[in-house]
Symmetry: D2
Subunit: 360 residues, 4 copies
């Protein structure tokens, strides 16, 4: 379960009946219907350029918690049935852990009872549950003018240069790019680069940046439930993420305090910082500046090149070539998932903060 007040549990398997999400603690009166959910789900849909050709139509069904198109305050369950499933490849390799996948760890942890078809619960597909819950969280956040944008800032050697000063410009630039990179020039270079990667039967990693606008100061519950800590935990639940950094992040290792510290100034009558190396968070609490963080996605583990593995039923070394369908770079389809997970965590902390807001 993710979250404390706005609580999210995902379920389902890649090749089972479907995948979904349970949300507890969602406030009543949020306008939501299946169309809204499906629009958000389509943003991570496979079949878009440079992503896996799996033909799916993610159609969300709201099983509970919504009445007359409004949330009721009761537990919400959204279910997305699976289609287009062919598990024969996975039956053949069920004893051969694919490099970079969770096949081995799943087999050990679940004593061989895990559903290994299509990666089971470790498939990127399970993130559709996060996206559905995130769609509701976003609507809730929008009542407080909080907006979350995630976009690709790096794929392989190509780094984008992003200007986040206007959120409208940013959103438009993201939407225009087939690979969700708002730097038009970099986006084109990435497309070219990905074509080569696909041709080689390989994959590549990437970095996704997120900016959250209009977060009020005060969100976060130190000393343990910090806003950055809760975001990080949620982000690592997205398959393929191997690193999270806030603000200047790892660059801070080679900065002086006199450079890194964000000075406090007054601007338009508001206390703000002159720089944002902290990424909008001090001491685990939002400071009113945009929250900025980056996550590193590893390359899609499935590739069309031979790799070494072991047949666990015989203990013998074998060579395996990735079957199934895959994206050359999961960072691209990861962007709506990162947005969703971020929205869930912020909705949760916003609800915690609302509890104290009027006491003084």
């Amino acid at each position: 379960m993710l979250g404390h007040m706005f609580r999210v549990s995902i379920f389902g398997e890649s090749h089972g009946l479907g995948i979904g999400v349970l949300i507890e603690g969602c406030p009543p009166g949020i306008k939501v219907d299946e169309e809204v959910l499906n629009r958000e789900l389509s943003r991570r849909k496979p079949g878009i350029p440079y992503t896996s050709p799996r033909i799916e139509e993610d159609k969300a069904r709201i099983l509970s918690g919504v009445f007359n198109n409004y949330t009721t305050g009761a537990p919400i369950v959204i279910f997305i049935p699976n289609r287009d499933i062919n598990s024969s490849f996975y039956e053949k390799i069920k004893n051969i852990p694919r490099p970079g996948h969770a096949d081995y760890t799943a087999k050990v942890k679940y004593f061989g009872f895990n559903d290994y078809r299509g990666g089971g619960i470790f498939s990127g597909r399970i993130t559709a549950g996060f996206v559905a819950a995130g769609a509701i969280a976003k609507i809730f956040l929008s009542k407080f003018n909080i907006e979350v944008y995630s976009y690709v800032v790096r794929i392989g050697p190509i780094a984008a240069s992003i200007n986040i000063s206007s959120k409208e410009t940013l959103r438009n630039a993201i939407d225009k790019s087939p690979i969700k990179c708002p730097d038009n020039k970099a986006s084109k270079a990435m497309e070219e680069y990905l074509s080569k990667v696909i041709e080689e039967g390989d994959s590549v990693g990437g970095i996704v940046e997120t900016v959250v606008y209009n977060v009020p100061p005060g969100l976060g519950e130190p000393p343990i439930d910090t806003l950055d800590g809760d975001l990080a935990k949620a982000l690592f639940a997205i398959p393929g993420i191997k690193g999270v950094e806030f603000g200047a992040g790892f660059k801070l290792a080679d900065m002086y305090g006199s450079e890194a510290n964000d000075e406090w100034i007054v601007k338009n009558g508001k206390v703000v910082t002159s720089t944002n190396n902290a990424g909008g968070i001090n001491g685990g609490i939002s400071n009113g500046m945009p929250i900025i963080f980056r996550v590193a996605f590893k390359p899609t583990p499935t590739i069309r090149k031979p790799q070494k593995s072991v047949d666990l039923s015989t203990g013998k070394p074998v060579t395996i070539i990735g079957g199934g369908r895959h994206d050359p770079c999961i960072a691209i389809r990861g962007t709506p998932v990162v947005e969703a997970v971020t929205s869930i965590v912020l909705a949760d902390h916003l609800l915690r903060w609302l509890s104290w807001r009027d006491l003084h």
Copy 2:
């Protein structure tokens, strides 16, 4: 509260009566006494070279949960009284948020009721509670041969080169270095570099790496309570950490799948991976390889250079010069804290895993 089975809550303030930790769910029969705790606490003691000159003697008092030098299974509370406190500087600046500190966010979140002296709950001092709990977690882990080592791999522009193949060599090299960097040559260069930073009245960031040996495969509770996610959340509770990456981390963005994937091989009759770009974790579950991750510490925010701020009582800009005591680079004293927090999370996940272990 950190953790699910082995649960840790820290409390206390920098200039209050003291700081401490509550541990719930600790198994009975772990041998522990105040001497063991104090030995571990002395590893993060201020007053060692290149760290803050605050003269403290952290003396842990076990208030509950230990009887005849063994844990009883009941809640454990460890309390470390404060000494050597002069709060006059903080009274003077209580309306002036220090750049890089949590003064502003604390004031907003807690409606001005926060204890602002010495940073209150946001002081690095509060991490002594983690170290005390981590000492107990380490003893528990040692029964399963699990060992945790954290060390400095970068300060400013100086990067160390570390060989983790022998844990004895590693531990010795860490202990010999005054700045907890097991690369002797880098350690010396860092010392020199820090001397200059101190002279300039400035501070600098750093990177701490952690390696955990002998973690059995199977720890981690996806889809939400992943091992990497729970580690990340815990690590962000350490003041100053702004980034966390596992295995090859952010470098994965510029790697091909064919490079990044760790191939499965058999070595000495055991299934292992030929490389460890995953940092010992696949799909949120330990895979039996050493767990490896790095955290980025920002520079100590307190510096002896003038910085801009705002007097919140008047709304006027002011210039502030860091008072109080401080380390030039918090990464150094951060190493035992990272070890402690890592041990707490592993003890927690080990206990979750033990619950299933004998069912099949």
Copy 3:
């Protein structure tokens, strides 16, 4: 969410698409299929004598977490679609809170957004989710020979006399009784009594007793997560329960310590108590004796007699006559629900206990 290791969340509404349950933390390798679930669900089925005539066929669909008829260790979702729904009565009274129901509190808490049809989430129907989860918990418990039996011991003025010394005899007697009362004579008297209650268009309360056999000593996590406390919390989630007592319960108020204390004796080489006034629990921990407790069910609130209420849209007093379908005594259909909830809590505490079992 109910539970800590074996975690259960129920969802769904009486007149929505259906109701269901999410289970997290269920160990892998438990044999379960939809047939097993449906058999258990049929035990609380409406349409049996002296219960509501609503014609339903609760057919469980396992949406996730089970593969090849075994639990996988992943989150399990079970969904039971609704049928036979006529909501017209509820539309008419949506502003008129029914006495004894949660209509008023739901309207206030959820700002009028609650699904009021058929009582929404407050319908007894939602307990089918507990029954489905309890069916899985029971299979898990059966591997440790733990067995749970709930039965009616009182309806109106008629009290049963029960002998729990043989669990086979007890189970048979429960199954033979249409009102789940293992005292044959009392069962018959209750049937007669209920016929009169039905005739009068009224309803009546009842008491359900539960005995759990073969619980090992050591389950329960004081000082807070006591076994009795966790059972009580779970039981109050069953609509209609207004009291819970363990062992001699409220009778202890008029007992001497010399009567009430269960003396320790050795029997067949085992330490046991000579009496069981504690109901198998000392200090929040199971003591190895059968766990025994009783719950009080209030009368079904829906009756066919005129009752006073208020039209909340006008503030005027009105008279309301219960529509919809109802049982004359919900204690009867409550028995499998109490069994289910008890099994869930025991499975949860058993898993917590297994985590420590082999440490000494």
Copy 4:
């Protein structure tokens, strides 16, 4: 840990250094000092008539979370050192479980590592931590005019008759009675009865009733975290409580629906119920009426009469006579503890409710 937003963990042992409590999530700005805490603690002090003669002076020390006499929003720890300890009796009987105590279950659960002196964590003394946390919860609740009163309604065969219509009269009558029974005549009869019980070296059980005034409608988080369920769980953490019932409670078993249902009426422009058989809770949510419940305390297990037990080191039967100090009826000193625990749960649910309050 008790609670979700206002979270309470108790710690400490009867004959250790002391006992205490950690509170997380307490809002900032609540005026509290050690004097207030000690006043509340003195209400459960041993040494008052008809209670144990153990001479203690419970002096609370606030170790953290309070600054300038106001809560800061940070974790609060209150510690109450132990005095007047003689553990020699417990050394002698450490292998002989006392009837009615948790000695046996503790020994089994904690593999013999438990602190057995004075009952360790199972001593009634540990409830002082609840009382300290409850004192803070009460101050918070008082800002919303919520008031909690607990009192004795039965001891042995003597039942009191209580009028709760005026809270001032009730409070005065409670305070005047040495045994916290607001029915003056019953109080006197109970005194006489207890004198005899003491003379006989025996003990007796009792029933404590609680009424909570001015609870707004809407508190409680069904379907799982019901207000009655969370109260019940908290109450069972008080040693000696074996039953909890709300409103008419177990009497509902012999009531008709037409009697038991509380009809809705308008009184002074407010929607209320004409009776309060539900005890102020419908569907797990407060309905605006006073919350009323009763708990059954078992007789003090320690008595001065010989009882059978087993020497666990030899397996031989032995006879044991209660040593140590004890109250003849723990219900009396239990009243402030029940008040405290009730206040904690209400503060917790109030904070959850405040989170939604202004959304519509």
